[in-house]
């Protein structure tokens, strides 16, 4: 590829200038459509680079993030692209810098709301994940704006705590819709025997949520309850155990999320 050959011959300083230009859409990049985000083209191009040029490119990305974090502001269109690239980079040092920046949001009045959200989304999507305590602090900064991202952040590492966090969600349809989608994605990754436990735990928390929020999430809970597998119905499980013998009956597993007595009571 022509652009890769060109980049392979550049110094670190030249690669920095190239990346800054490329993220503003001023360089030839392998883009699927003319309006595609430039960082996606940079990601494709870096795969074609020789190791020294690729490492230099990632170093530049880290430097640019460090500069942004030090300044606490920047041109939004450029920063959106840079954060997209950094998310794919998956560099722990970069993630740590962004987490530290996020903790300083209240002291950064020049930083646009869009970039604050993009930083938080990058922290959700990029390993290593931040601990629940970090997301608790972010939520306190602005519960209305950051609740959905904080929920995603906690859901990634501690689903039980995330379910308890639903009580702190804003009482809006938008918040309910977002939580529903996140829970649905989390549901997809759960083992079948854990799913009902999560549904039940969510259902229990909803009583302490606002009505608009609870309406949306409650509808999702109801939909999932109607589609729960046979082994989550204690009565059906017992009938199958009688008919097939205990060894062949569906197995039901319990966790602290859903103690056995609650399941039986249901």
């Amino acid at each position: 590829m022509k652009a890769a050959t060109f980049l392979n011959g550049l110094s670190h300083t030249e690669i920095r200038a190239w990346l800054e230009s490329a993220l503003l859409g001023r360089e030839s990049l392998p883009l699927a459509t003319p309006d595609e985000s430039p960082y996606l083209g940079v990601l494709r191009l870096q795969k074609e680079l020789k190791p020294p040029a690729r490492e230099s490119l990632w170093d530049v990305c880290r430097e640019l993030i460090a500069g942004f974090c030090a300044q606490g502001h920047g041109e939004p269109a450029f920063l959106e692209q840079l954060l997209g690239l950094a998310s794919a980079f998956r560099d722990p040092e970069t993630v740590a810098m962004l987490a530290e920046l996020a903790s300083r949001f209240p002291k950064l009045p020049q930083l646009s709301p869009e970039i604050r959200l993009a930083v938080l989304a990058t922290l959700v999507d990029t390993p290593p994940p931040q601990p629940p305590l970090f997301w608790d602090e972010i939520l306190k900064q602005d519960p209305e704006k950051y609740a959905a991202l904080a929920l995603s952040g906690v859901l990634a590492t501690n689903p039980a705590q995330a379910i308890q966090m639903l009580r702190a969600m804003p009482d809006t349809e938008r918040s309910g819709q977002a939580a529903t989608l996140k829970l649905d994605l989390a549901w997809d990754t759960l083992a079948p025997d854990k799913r009902f436990q999560v549904i039940q735990a969510v259902g229990q928390v909803l009583g302490r949520c606002g009505p608009r929020f609870a309406g949306f999430v409650g509808a999702w809970v109801s939909a999932k309850q109607t589609s729960r597998p046979a082994n989550t119905y204690s009565g059906l499980a017992a009938a199958l155990a009688n008919a097939l013998g205990e060894e062949n009956a569906p197995k039901v597993f319990y966790s602290r999320l859903c103690p056995r007595r609650e399941l039986v009571a249901a």
């Binding site: 230009s21 859409g25 001023r26 030839s28 990049l29 392998p30 883009l31 699927a32 459509t33 003319p34 309006d35 595609e36 985000s37 996606l40 083209g41 494709r44 959106e80 997209g84 998310s87 869009e114 959200l117 938080l120 989304a121 959700v124 999507d125 704006k145 950051y146 959905a148 991202l149 995603s152 938008r174 918040s175 309910g176 819709q177 977002a178 529903t180 989608l181 996140k182 649905d184 994605l185 997809d188 949306f216």
Partner: protein, 267 residues
């Protein structure tokens, strides 16, 4: 032989500007992509002479400022978007469509959600709901997503402008890329978006120009200056003999007129 629109526009500029532009275009000859862009500038028919003159004048000004020829051209183009003829309202197709990379649209959905979803979550949701019923919650966020970045390139069905333009195109990834002239990167997973023009607020539709295309070497000017819209250049080898597809540009709008379900096509 009459002068081309490019020659007419160039002739109005000061001699220093003419020379600077000609020198710049000459430096592009050795570059396959930029030489095509230079050819496109020369062949463009979609700009009124006045607009062409302003575009070239900006190009010359940028060159005089010391920017590289490519940067100068891009800067001039960005100041002259959507200068092609505006499609009269009665001629606007009621249904439009486009293909874009799934990753890019996931970014748009995340952005449109205002922090409700991350790009990775949006991508997983789009993959999960592609081709089938879309959860109400996802639909609400999808309708807030921009249809593109900066400028939306759209196609439609000339024979039946009220139908899905992808209905008469191949269903394969390669076939869609070929028909739409998407040659920049042929391996990205695509999402096909189809929307109601009125449902999206009836944004103005324009015939595309070289300024809209910037340095995209897959753009081709339509030779008919009176044409209402442009046409894609199907990618070679085009073994299926796919016809050029009509193309228009429009400002970025949200997807409130999006038609569901949507499709995702893997390479």
């Amino acid at each position: 032989m009459p002068m081309s629109q490019y020659q007419e526009a160039l002739a109005v500029l000061p001699s220093g500007s003419i020379t600077a532009i000609q020198v710049a275009l000459n430096t592009w000859v050795g570059d396959p992509d930029l030489s095509q862009v230079g050819q496109n500038i020369s062949d463009e028919t979609a700009l009124a002479v006045d607009d062409f003159e302003k575009l070239l004048g900006s190009f010359a000004t940028e060159l005089a400022g010391g920017s590289s020829s490519k940067d100068s051209w891009i800067a001039a183009c960005r100041a002259h978007k959507r200068r092609g003829r505006k499609l009269p309202d009665p001629d606007c197709p009621s249904i439009l469509g486009r293909a874009r990379s799934l990753d890019d649209h996931a970014n748009s959905v995340a952005k449109g959600s205002g922090g409700a979803l991350t790009p990775a979550e949006a991508k997983r949701l789009l993959l999960k709901h592609a081709g089938g019923p879309v959860a109400l919650a996802l639909e609400s966020f999808m309708r807030l997503a921009p249809l593109g970045n900066y400028l939306v390139w759209a196609t439609f069905d000339t024979s039946n402008p009220a139908t899905d333009p992808f209905d008469h195109l191949p269903t394969s990834h390669g076939g869609i890329c070929t028909a739409l002239g998407l040659g920049g990167w042929g391996r990205a997973t695509l999402i096909l978006l189809v929307w109601s023009h009125i449902g999206c607020g009836s944004p103005p539709l324009h015939r595309p120009t070289v300024a809209d295309a910037e340095v995209n070497p897959y753009y081709r000017p339509h030779p008919d200056a009176s044409a209402l819209w442009g046409f894609t250049c199907p990618l070679p080898p085009n073994s299926g003999g796919l016809q050029p597809q009509p193309e228009l540009v429009m400002p970025v709008t949200t997807s409130k007129g999006l038609r569901l379900p949507f499709r995702v096509i893997r390479a």
